[in-house]
Symmetry: D2
Subunit: 338 residues, 4 copies
């Protein structure tokens, strides 16, 4: 941590900074320029310190963080790529893992048809929402328990692992009984009670990036899961909020190389929620694979026209099937496979 | 809702749109321009419909919403300003209500001293966090139950109502036993389980704007509370995430006249979390009062240098006292008082 | 254009809207819902009208635009993909056109070596800045005339067309004498004097997206060039400003399918300015090709460590050479070639 | 400047950093933590250095700037508030200076009526655009020379100084003959040719903040004017681009205390372009005065319904007159006057 003192600072003020740093177990090195004094705070755990600890002291102009605030999710903590296994599927390995299915589980017929369709096109994990966080209280909120049962049934019949979102910290145990992967939605990325519970559960978890979270905040949220001992964390980029309004969210394609540089965790991409419109999904999905994503989370509905939630961003079975062919070609061109 | 058809649309596609609209109980009016056909979907409840319902149909180019998606929070639903009463304090009336106190309750001594200080300077409601949602799992997370007890004790001793944040839907009942106003934090603005529980509790609630929520989304989140029968909703603007990095969040000053135009709910402003630095708090607080806010939520700490959380944004007792004097002058200049 | 009237509007106010629309040569259709009246303004040229024309009238609640404000750049105006030819190179065809070279022309030796390197790796157009718009007045501003002469010399020696940025409307003629393609930089996307001059020049022009321009504003800026009769317009996505700070700009990958849907113009991508760091450039470049970009604009420097401008985002010759191999594989996987 | 080395860096790499710093005339201090080495680069002019100079070197993980990149605009360079005088009006003193008038000069009648109206309500400087940068090429672009002549005529008749925008660097001399203050528009904040010319002219200049410029970039752009010897620079906050779409731009109210802390230059606020709608202008204007702005730039039109440009954001004469009364009360409450 770098503490810049004001031009007109006094020796006493500098001493206060040094004293506080030492009392927190940190080392200090003083850099006295011609113009101003800069104090470097050194130590293993400066990432855990708030910059406020020094910024509140008199005579301090600014405090800059050098160490990242996340620790367990960082590549400095663990150099090698992490791989999360679900059954015999490895997420974060050479295979690009496609998870697909409807936004919401609507009925037995809908989910089974969707499962059949996405499995036969090459998806290996099935998605479907039982609890739907909806912007308006007047919208369809999901089948809840019935939805979970249908996901378990789909799993039993077709043998593919299933993923669903959990929204309430007190539901974690219950939901984990029915499904293989718990999803923490973008709006809950900093719902710390929920993170703690999913961390304790130690089951595979997809952590979606908050729609206005920096990558640093996202990886720090991952630390909540890792700190509870859950190392089966999969990150999911799903678009960030910007001023551009032709899509629902702007998929942050550069988050892929950035996360790969700074973290060991596997990273998948959700092109559907970013695009908000089926016609933009294929281009974004292909870009994600080319840029190095470890998987995709795609919405497919047997009949988008009749979808109860987000039909506009769902691919039809035939569009999904065509996209999978294109994705396979790109995967090969980057030395991977689907 | 306005459905724009593609240039080359067919009569069948137009008929499909009309059929779907009528099956949802809506009226339809057709506008056939020289260039393209535009279908207006009319009815009392188009605000509740998702635009996807029409956008998924073939031949549709775009769908624009005319009615706002929120209903109960809107001034079209209720014309007169709402006033929320807490004891004998009216929020939303002529008096500008200042809520102040430390970010986190840290100890009995700290809270009692803070209460004394803010009360004597003119604040009429005391704030203090017992549960602190923190970006990093390694940071101080609040005194929890002990914090609630101290808030209740402060209330008993000093007679001023207290406000604290609730973060878990299952804690709503418990927290409401100790405090007068429940706060829903910015990161939980779309935590719909939490909104529903606080809605059911029917106690005064401050709903902070999500850090990347549009005003429309914020008012739609308020509908979650109102729909459960809780009409004691107070909105709180606390800054939005933008590219500007000299402050933690950019306080959206125009949200004040915008909310006042479109909603009947009272609106307060939190300059402390927006600024992130004590030196910027007074200017923002004064601007908020001049722009028409109904109150302020300000962080004050007896000794910011020793604060466990967010010390940099806390005012000292003497700075707060000076600010209150300045705010009183501005309040009078806009026909109100503190 | 859709004019929503207030709930309590009068017949006179509605008549005023109708009168104004007709006086502007537009058709009008009235949609009288149970709740409020909505007036549809129809006609070929509603895209050219400002929404203010109606929004200022009493009784109007809001005005929504249906037609896009751009015209000549839109696919509704011209259905087929446009191809811009420079010598025998077609931009917008099956070949993915790579333009590469140093950010700034620094010396004869540097430019000739860079040209040799990028040509032999497969780039077919050479980039190099002679006029450098710099954030600070104390930074290197480019070789200006000398830079232009060196670009012309490179062209003569190596036979590859060259592209350079023009920053002053009065320099357009002069710069066009030396180079094949004029670049309008991101900060000048709405420098309308410059757009008009480049439009009049009718030479191939790359129009970079402004760092906070919506796609709609970008295509409307392209209309400035097209309206002057210059149909050799190439769009260039180079990242937008967001809150994310791990990169200089967030490349908007979804702009590729969005532009392809709404415009006939060819579109290239600049991964270097978006990333701001060489290590992120390859992933973004590959993503762009996979998503359907028609070309790339990449910074390559013989010795980035000694670059006078933006050395951190420049690829070394060997990194560029490796990237070109990877790009070729991806191009083939999407049915194109480099 | 703080250079963070990678964990596994070598002594040679550290030496390279030191060597480069010394060769640039900087001092170096080494901070060897238990975990990694951090090199502090010290010296008077580190603000002028690009971080790239060190970031390109092998073994470097990151480079953070401590010194701000702007110099002449900073309060460290000049401690006392700058005051810009136009005739006998001081901008940056105790008086809050209101500049008002129509967006565009449309006719003699319109400008003279507007001038009369704003002067009698208490504005002391008249605004009016002769050259209008417009998003679309099909919109009204201003009266140009005729507009300048009318501004000069207004000045002569009513005695109030006039301000107008200049958009082309080659027009600076010509425009400065007719008006008292040159305005550099938001879209030209980084049009460096224009900045340089206005800098050379040494006449009073309003520098609007770019719609996606950080405060640091804005003050660095001001350095372009100051570096040419023009010290009559007035900054103007006019809203930034964010995701919020209920207004055209989000006025960044915290920019007022931030600029006042870091710069000595006077700062005015344009609430009209930010709001985009007349009904939001008064609240923003009042907030700006309460927060410490030195002046306002407000659009007023004798008849907004007939305005050729941006009529929706223009105040009517009576609305402006009412606002001025309210502003006077607020000015007094913060110890100033209008």
């Amino acid at each position: 941590m770098i503490v810049e003192m004001r031009k007109d600072t006094t020796q006493d003020e500098i001493d206060d900074v040094i004293y506080r740093a030492r009392s927190l177990g940190m080392d200090v090195q003083l850099n006295s320029g011609t113009d101003k004094t800069v104090v470097a705070i050194l130590g293993k755990d400066t990432g855990k310190l708030s910059t406020d600890v020094f910024a509140v002291l008199p005579g301090v102009e600014s405090v800059s963080r050098i160490m990242k605030p996340y620790k367990l999710a960082s590549r400095e903590f663990k150099m090698a790529d992490s791989i999360v296994s679900v059954d015999d599927i490895e997420i974060g390995g050479r295979r690009i893992v496609v998870m697909a299915g409807p936004c919401a589980v609507e009925s037995e017929e809908q989910l089974m048809e969707a499962t059949m369709v996405v499995k036969s096109a090459g998806a290996c994990i099935v998605r479907g929402g039982a609890f739907k966080p909806r912007t308006s209280p007047f919208s369809f909120q999901g089948l809840e328990k019935k939805g979970l049962e249908l996901l378990a049934e789909s799993r039993k019949r077709f043998g593919a692992p299933v993923i669903t979102e959990v929204v309430d910290p007190h539901d974690v145990d219950r939901v984990a009984e029915y499904v293989d992967i718990l999803q923490i939605g973008a709006r809950n990325m900093q719902n710390f009670s929920l993170l703690t519970q999913v961390g304790k559960k130690k089951c595979p978890a997809v952590l979606k990036r908050g729609l206005s979270a920096t990558i640093t905040e996202w990886l720090t949220a991952a630390d909540y899961l890792l700190a509870e001992g859950n190392d089966k964390v999969i990150l999911c980029e799903r678009g960030i909020r910007t001023f551009e309004n032709s899509v629902r969210f702007s998929l942050d394609i550069s988050s892929i190389p950035v996360v790969k540089r700074f973290s060991h965790l596997p990273l998948i991409v959700d092109p559907s929620h970013a695009a908000g419109h089926y016609s933009f999904v294929p281009a974004i999905a292909k870009a994600a694979v080319a840029a190095g994503a470890d998987g995709l989370l795609i919405e497919v509905h047997p009949n988008p026209k009749e979808a109860l939630v987000d039909g506009l961003q769902a691919l039809t079975p035939s569009d999904f099937s065509r996209l999978m062919k294109e994705l396979r070609a790109i995967a090969i061109s980057v030395g991977r496979y689907i």
